[in-house]
């Protein structure tokens, strides 16, 4: 067996890419060769030197520079269909009004859904369609958060125009995550919800609380209005509570102004 073959086996061991037969072969060769043992020791040292090199933080401006320049990158014209889910207790006028306002607000689009008389709180029954462009957050963002932990991340942005707030939430989760948002303390009420088709596992609006169960890549948007009965200051806080199997995971808040 050549010296080079032994050293190649040692190199593969360092990468944990040796099959069992090669492992046995190498163990035997190491016993018989001080040179091979020295080479193995050197590689272990090199391995340590390389692994101890620090991981650098990219310059803070880099991400912004990339995303800013994305504006000039040609985009595909294909659009996905998104599902509209309507909060059930509003009258037709308000719903059409909200749809029209939202359409104007976002420079969109098409609402092809039908008005429903149901009083159920299972809003997944209530379906319409819009183009994906319509759900991009507008540029006048009031507040945003970005959270990330192992196997989970979420981003949200809130923007307002006139008397409507648009909340845009993205959840990326490897395991099923529950999000609970109560809008009442912020003096807000929910007008409408939209989500990517087949994305969320469940979505419910009960009382003043929105409950979302999600895994994988999900996005949804919520239209919010100032509650007529609420006494609002100029600022309001919306809290987002994330949990997995009932265990608290993350809490975030967005602040709104009028």
């Amino acid at each position: 067996m050549s010296n080079e073959r032994v050293q190649e086996l040692i190199s593969a061991t360092a990468d944990r890419e040796l099959d069992p037969e090669e492992r046995v072969e190498l163990d035997q060769l190491l016993q018989d060769s001080p040179e091979a043992r020295q080479f193995q020791s050197d590689l272990a040292e090199i391995d340590t030197l390389l692994r101890e090199l620090p991981v650098l933080e990219p310059p803070r401006s880099l991400r912004t520079q990339i995303t800013d320049r994305l504006e000039s990158v040609p985009q595909s014209s294909s659009r996905s269909i998104l599902t509209w889910l309507w909060q059930p207790n509003f009258g037709a006028v308000l719903r059409y009004g909200a749809a029209a306002t939202f359409g104007l607000l976002l420079g969109v689009a098409v609402y092809e859904g039908q008005l429903l008389d149901t009083t159920t709180t299972d809003i997944t029954d209530l379906v319409g369609t819009m183009t994906s462009d319509s759900l991009r957050p507008p540029t006048d963002i009031i507040d945003s958060y970005s959270i990330r932990s192992r196997g989970f991340e979420s981003l949200a942005r809130i923007a307002h125009r006139d008397d409507i707030l648009l909340l845009h939430v993205q959840i990326n989760a490897e395991d099923s995550v529950e999000l609970v948002v109560n809008f009442a303390p912020a003096g807000l009420r929910l007008d409408a919800i939209s989500q990517s088709r087949d994305a969320l596992e469940s979505i419910e609006y009960v009382g003043d609380t929105l409950r979302v169960q999600a895994s994988g890549h999900n996005r949804f948007s919520v239209l919010l209005r100032r509650d007529d009965d609420a006494t609002l200051t100029d600022e309001a806080k919306i809290e987002f509570n994330f949990s997995v199997d009932g265990r608290f995971l993350q809490r975030q808040a967005l602040h709104t102004t009028w």
């Binding site: 050293q7 190649e8 190199s11 593969a12 360092a14 990468d15 890419e17 080479f39 050197d42 590689l43 040292e45 090199i46 030197l49 390389l50 692994r51 101890e52 090199l53 620090p54 991981v55 650098l56 933080e57 990219p58 310059p59 880099l62 991400r63 520079q65 990339i66 995303t67 320049r69 994305l70 990158v73 040609p74 985009q75 595909s76 014209s77 294909s78 659009r79 996905s80 994906s132 991009r136 957050p137 970005s146 990330r148 196997g151 991340e153 981003l155 845009h168 993205q170 990326n172 490897e174 994988g216 890549h217 996005r219």
Partner: protein, 181 residues
């Protein structure tokens, strides 16, 4: 990132969704930047390469083949961009004088910083082909199969190239007195 999650984000990127694009940038910005830094030995050049690589990713995302993992594709674009950068500068503006360029890097003490600079400088003395496999193995934690996908090489070639790269690195580290002869 889980493959299904990755595919779903790619699909939205292909539809031009900015939030999905930002997610991809956030996910890979740091490893791509670090791989580029280890290839180029300079923070500014690494930032340039990272930026250009991501723009190329989004320009070409429509042709992404979903059979592959997205990181393989992104690293391939970034490494090619880094190698192009090296070739563009050659031979009058050599890279790799990292001994004097790591001021932004956090170190516990001066001795450790000097050692890290020496190791990086030695990395810069390797041929690009060798440096690329070392960078992918150590700084992106890719397997032989993944390195093969990224560099369009058979696994066997990856294995032998890593071996040769380590041999060369060992010799260079010994010459610099970092590793005992």
């Amino acid at each position: 990132m889980h493959k299904d999650l990755e595919n779903s984000i790619i699909k939205e990127c292909q539809q031009g969704d900015r939030m999905a694009q930002e997610t991809l940038v956030r996910q890979f910005e740091k490893p791509v930047f670090n791989a580029a830094y280890r290839m180029l030995g300079n923070v500014d050049d690494a930032a340039d390469v990272t930026q250009t690589a991501f723009l190329k990713v989004f320009e070409n995302i429509g042709s992404f083949d979903a059979r592959f993992r997205v990181y393989s594709w992104i690293y391939r674009i970034a490494l090619n961009e880094a190698i192009d950068q090296i070739k563009r500068r050659r031979p009058t503006e050599p890279f790799g004088d990292s001994r004097s360029r790591s001021t932004d890097v956090p170190y516990e003490n001066v001795a450790r910083r000097e050692l890290c600079d020496e190791v990086q400088a030695t990395l810069m003395e390797l041929k690009e082909d060798y440096r690329a496999v070392i960078v992918l193995r150590y700084f992106t934690e890719c397997s032989y199969r993944e390195i093969g996908e990224i560099l369009h090489l058979p696994e066997k070639t990856v294995k032998s190239r890593l071996f040769s790269a380590r041999q060369q690195l060992r010799t260079q580290l010994q010459q610099h007195g970092i590793l005992s002869s």
